[in-house]
Structures are given as C-alpha cells and as structure tokens.
Symmetry: C2
Subunit: 420 residues, 2 copies
C-alpha cells in the first residue's frame, strides 16, 4: 500500500510523508507521488508509534473484575480462578479488545505473555499489529509439566511462521518461582540456538528475591545468568528489586528491562525500578503497561507520565526522566530492545507512524511537543495509526470496533458464571 500524508507537522515543520509498503520513501513539501491512500495531516503532528514492552493482552477480559486487593489474594481468589476457565475463543476476543485499545492509544507493537498463544497471534495478525508473543511457561517444578511445556513451545515455534511477519515467537518462562531449573536450561539453550527472545518476570517482588536466596542461595539475575539466560535476547520485566550487582550483570550482557510504573504502583510492589542504576550500567530499558487486571488501561502515554512522575517522586529530584527521555523509552529505546531497527521518521525507515490531533486543549499553547505528549496528553489524542504500511485507524475509527467490544463484553461476563 502507498500512503501519502499531506501537510503534517514533523520535527517542527509542515511537510508530506510518502510511505510505500511500510517504508518511508520520501519526506518533503508538495510531494508528487501515486498513492492508494491520501491522509490530510493538517492540524496534526507525526511521531513514531508507541511500543508496549510488556502486557498480557487478553487480560482486558478481567478489567475491573478485581482491584484494590493484596497481590496474593488477588491472584489466587480472583485472577487464577477465571484464567483456569479461559478457552482459545475467550483469549482471542480478549486479545482483539486489547489490540483495539492499543491501536486507539497509538501503540503498534506489543510484547505479550499469555495462555492460548495462537489466539493472541491470530488477534494481532488480524488487527495488523506487530507482536512479540510468548506462551506462559509454568511447570511448578514438575517434570511432566515441564516436558509438556517444552513440547508446546516447539509446536508454537513452528506454528508462528503462519503469523509472520506481524508476529514473532518468543519464550515466556513466567518467573523463577514458577519454572524449574530444568526448564530454564532448555529455554536458555533454545533461545541461543534459534535467536529467540526470552520474556520473563524478574525481581518484581520482595518475595521473589527471597525465593532466589532460599532456593538457589543467590540473586535472581545471578541465578539466571548461571543458566546462560542473561543475554541481549533477554527481556526482563518489572525489575523493581534489582540490586547494583544484578544491574551490572544485565548491563554487561546486554539484557533488556521493561518498567511497568502503573502496575507496580497499583499492586504496591514496594520499590521503584532503579533507573539510575540502569543508566550507570548501560542497561537498555523501555516501558510497558502490564495487563489490564493490574493497570487497567493499555495507554503508553499515560504510562510515560507515571514513569516520569514516579521517578521524580522516588528520587526527590524533579529533573529526573524529563519528557523527551521518557518519550524515547516508549519509542526509539523500546525499538532497540526488540531489535526493530531505527524508530525514527526519516527516509528509509520502516518505523510505524501515528498522527496526534493538535486541535485539543492538551496541545495549547504547544511550547514543547514532548512535554505536551507526556504530561498533558493521553491516548485519546491519537488520531491516525499506520503500522507496517497499513492504516489501522483514521479519525479515531478502527474497523469492526463495535463487534470486538460486543464479543469481549459478552465473553468476559459469561466467564464469571461459567463452570470450569
């Protein structure tokens, strides 16, 4: 598809942008090119789309079902009870709703970990998003479950080609307290041989840190590193309780960390990510929303504001994580984490593009675009979304959105009453 965006604001100047099959071929005023689709960019600004570094897409089905509860009770009495009933069809509609919500908020890439892998892959593929998807790998230290999980992952790895190029298969060992050493070694080996990302919860809670100490006599990262897991393919999520020593290892090995400020605050995990150590040790990190049961909104603009303000509050320093820096964490630096290439709007780039509507109070007077995006705007300011050369949203309209909401609503409500 050939897309011509007319008279849009880009880096402070009004220009045209020409995209051919997902690649930016020309930027300049009054471009004369054939286009299948012409978009009027007047009153709008073009920026790279947002990348959601960690979510559980289908958990949109649980939005508002259980909040304001202690983590353990929330999981055991509410979330796991519903999750046990989930079918492929349920996850498909939950993931569709998540994709719709992410598109509405200008997100074109998400990194997912959930049950019923193919349902999420199909949803992302149909909605036209880019997705890194892992199946939740949990064996609870049971060899039989471990072998089933390995078999499943081998199957999904082959199956994933069907959803290429949108979907990338990744490995999703849940966390050190739910996956055996045996399985983690397999994950490590498979990741190394096939160049596959490892997507894992790391040092999210104090309990996890204690678990590592008690079971393995070491830190979370040290343990994972001893299994060869810490590499440039490792994407560790949360990382609230990481120590200086662990950050040194992560930085040296080129591992990535995804920070979830909203979820961490809502579940009161007790610590903020040590982002000053991330900088000190050169760790690449980015931001994620987490799933809708613990956020409950898939909006990276909101997440940027929380990330910046939480960092300022926790350090007592209002100069920490300024607007442009946090914008990069949600775009360019996230793209680096996921090997997505240069995430900048320039000729030759395959970056996804969103247009923000400047005719809103949030963008008046518009002294600083990045300040306005991070501190004043929200996902509803996104007007147009272009991903892999296709227009996914225009004038805030996404095809079939009513059908998706209707099905997700029906399924979520039926889930509560349904027997397992």
């Amino acid at each position: 598809m050939k897309i011509l965006i007319r008279n849009v604001l880009l880096n402070g100047e009004t220009t045209d942008i020409y995209i051919n099959e997902g690649k930016i071929e020309a930027i300049g005023s009054s471009l004369t090119r054939d286009a299948d689709k012409v978009i009027n960019g007047e009153g709008k600004v073009a920026v790279p789309s947002f990348i959601n570094g960690h979510t559980h897409a289908a958990m949109t089905l649980f939005r508002g079902y259980a909040d304001d509860m202690p983590l353990r009770r929330w999981l055991e009495e509410k979330i796991w009870v519903l999750e046990a009933k989930l079918t492929e069809e349920d996850v498909y509609w939950g993931a569709k709703l998540a994709c719709l919500e992410m598109i509405k908020n200008g997100i074109t890439v998400f990194n997912d970990m959930y049950w019923h892998w193919e349902a999420t892959a199909k949803a992302a593929f149909e909605m036209g998003l880019r997705a890194y998807i892992s199946a939740v790998f949990i064996d609870m230290f049971d060899r039989k479950r471990a072998e089933e999980q390995i078999e499943l992952n081998l199957h999904l790895y082959d199956l994933s080609k069907k959803y290429s190029p949108n979907v990338v298969f990744t490995l999703g060992p849940h966390a050190i307290y739910s996956v055996s050493e045996f399985s983690l070694l397999w994950v490590s080996e498979f990741s190394r041989k096939n160049g596959v990302f490892v997507h894992m919860h790391v040092a999210e809670t104090e309990d996890e840190v204690k678990f590592a100490k008690e079971r393995y006599g070491t830190s979370v990262v040290d343990f994972l590193d001893s299994l060869g897991l810490i590499s440039e393919r490792f994407v560790g999520c949360h990382g609230c309780w990481l120590t200086e020593e662990e950050c040194e290892i992560l930085g040296r090995k080129g591992a990535k960390i995804v920070h979830m400020p909203v979820s961490n605050m809502k579940l009161a995990v007790g610590k903020v990510v040590p982002h000053l150590l991330f900088s000190k040790y050169g760790i690449s990190y980015c931001l994620g929303t987490d799933g809708c049961a613990s956020n409950n909104h898939l909006d990276m603009i909101e997440t940027m504001k929380f990330a910046s303000l939480l960092a300022k509050f926790a350090t007592g320093d209002p100069t920490v994580l300024p607007a442009y820096e946090v914008f990069q964490l949600a775009t360019k630096k996230a793209a680096f984490c996921f090997h997505l290439g240069e995430w900048e709007i320039k000729v030759g780039s395959t970056v996804d593009i969103i247009l923000l509507d400047l005719k809103r109070p949030e963008f008046v007077p518009n002294f600083d675009l990045y300040s306005d995006i991070v501190y004043a705007a929200n996902g509803s300011c996104v007007d147009t979304v272009i991903c892999m050369g296709n227009v996914l949203m225009e004038d805030r309209k996404v095809p079939n959105e009513e059908e998706i909401m209707e099905n997700a609503r029906r399924i979520a409500r039926s889930l509560v009453d349904r027997d397992r």
Copy 2:
C-alpha cells in the same frame, strides 16, 4: 432550561432524568415531561460531575513552557518572569482555555487562585462553570503591599456579585512565607465576618515547614490556628508535610485539605499527603489538579488514578484508596468541602451531571463502573456535561472551542517575547 436525558444508565439501571432549572425533578423510565432539550443517553452512564479542588486556571498559558526543573529555579527563572507580564486579557484567555479543558474532562466546579481576579471570573461565568475564585494575596511582609492587597480584596468582594451565581469570591493568602501576620489576621477576620472561604497553600514543601519553625517557632497549622484561620471555611492545599498534631487541629476545627498527587510527584515535593491521618482525625479532603505549569493537564479522572496509585505505593498497601473511595473524593466529598450540597443524582438534587461514553474499550467489559472510571478511563471518555441546568458539552463539542484555543495559543506565544 428543561433537560430530559433519555435511556441513560444510572446506578446500574436504564432510566430517564429530568432537570428543570438545574434541579433534578424526576428520575424514572419513559418520563413524559416538556423539555427544551432532549439528550439521548443510550450507551452512556450518568455520574455526578467532577470538582477540581485547587488550580490556577490561567496557567494553561504556561503548559510545557518549563518542565523537569527544580522548584525554585522553575519559579524564579521561568514562571514568575512570565507572570510579571500577564495582562487581564491574557489571564482571561488562559482561564477560558482552562474552562474549556475542564469541561472536556467533566469538571464543572473549580477552586482557583490567581492574578487578575475578574478575568478568571468572567471566563468561568461565560463558560457556564461554577468557580470559587481568589486573588493571589502576597505582601512579602511589606505593609504597603498588604494595604493594597486588602483594598483590592474589598473591591473584588463587591465586584463578585456581578458574576453570581456561578462565581464565589474567596480569599487567597498565598502561603505563610509570602503573607505577613498582619494580612493573615485581616483575612481571618474578613472570612469570619462574611463567611468567606480562605484558600491557601499549606505545608506543601519542607522549606515551608522550616520557615514556620524559624519565624514563628511553631508548625504551619499551629501558627494559622493562632490567628483564627483554621475553621470550616479554611481550604488548605497540598498538605504533604502535615504532622499528626496539625491533622488533629485541622480535624477538630473542620478545615479542608486538597491533595494534588500529580503536581506533588512532578515537582518532587518529597512526601505524600498523610491520608491515613486525614481519616484518623476526620479531616474532609478532596483532590485537585493544580495549575497547568505543574501537572500539566486539568483532568480529574487522571488525578484520581494518580491519587489512588500514589497512596497504594507510598503505604505499600494495594487496598488503600480503592476506586469508589477516590471517586467520592473527586465528587461527593469535594462538594462537602465547598458546601455545595448533596452531590448525588437523585430527585431534588442540584448536582451537576456528566455522561460517560460506555462504547469505548476502557469500559469493556465494565464489571465495576468506578474501577473503570478511576483506573481505565480518562477525561476523553466524557461525552456530555450539564452544569447548573445548562448543557456545556454534547458529543464532546463545546461552543467556540476553536476560537478559545486560537486566542490562548497566540497570547501564550506572544508572552515569551513580550517586554514587561
């Protein structure tokens, strides 16, 4: 004006609501009443409007002009430099923009403190909002300035009748470090005699606490109480550094506190309001956005999420400030703080009403309306706003919004280059 809202969701049931001259006269299905205006409520839910407990409306003009700076430098090098140039006309358009933004986000009442009192009053009056407005009262311990300020306030108190019933005059002694004891005594006396609210920054920063100790040998609240200022007419803003002893006084005297989670985090004031003490001592409190230079968005839905999550994070307890409780802080409890009467949608009430659009991903599946509003929604989910019996917004459209944005944009930009 007679307004009939048809088939809207209210407390879980679909019903009609009939409003006559700002008073709810009937609630029930298939009402047969004459109406000047019929609103289709299908797919929408009716809730009380939001009350913004503390802002500086015209500071929308400074949105994005200076962020990520230490508080002192931010004030001295940026904000005060621009403020010194402000004219009545500038403040008028800045306040108009703020009113527009608040209407868009479902806010119908705001408590303001700023320069050029009448400009804000006129803006609020024209936009149809309810506003408690104080002139910033600063004398910097100079008797001549004090007398000028007193004279000005006497004048504004008379003038305020012109903007009734929308606008209520309040007294705005800025803070203990910028207003002399002489002036504070006058404020105290005038407030008592005329039943006027006192709107003041209280215990926002550690420096303020030190100032009270050094100059007056006591705490901020103890000092104010010795001047007779702490009463049910006292609205203290921020209160991050309040001690147990101060909370006891505030509770006993029936004073109110307004909490600004976003501003407090962004400026890194170093402490979170002691809300557990507020409950313990029965202090009525509510929420505010603060001005656009330190937030930078006048959205009480966003502020509710920040308030709840900051409270959970700071206490390490995810059960603190649950969704419904924080929703009440932005509606019913705020109405109590400002003597607005019962802020509930029921027959006989003069509550302002907003309709939220449920046909958005944020409200799917909609297990819990208050959770969805606080944790998933944002101001852009507001579809319709009714204030004092008038429709201020319908289908997210506000009259003259382009003109307001255009003028505010022009003025804000001219301000930077303008000589004093």
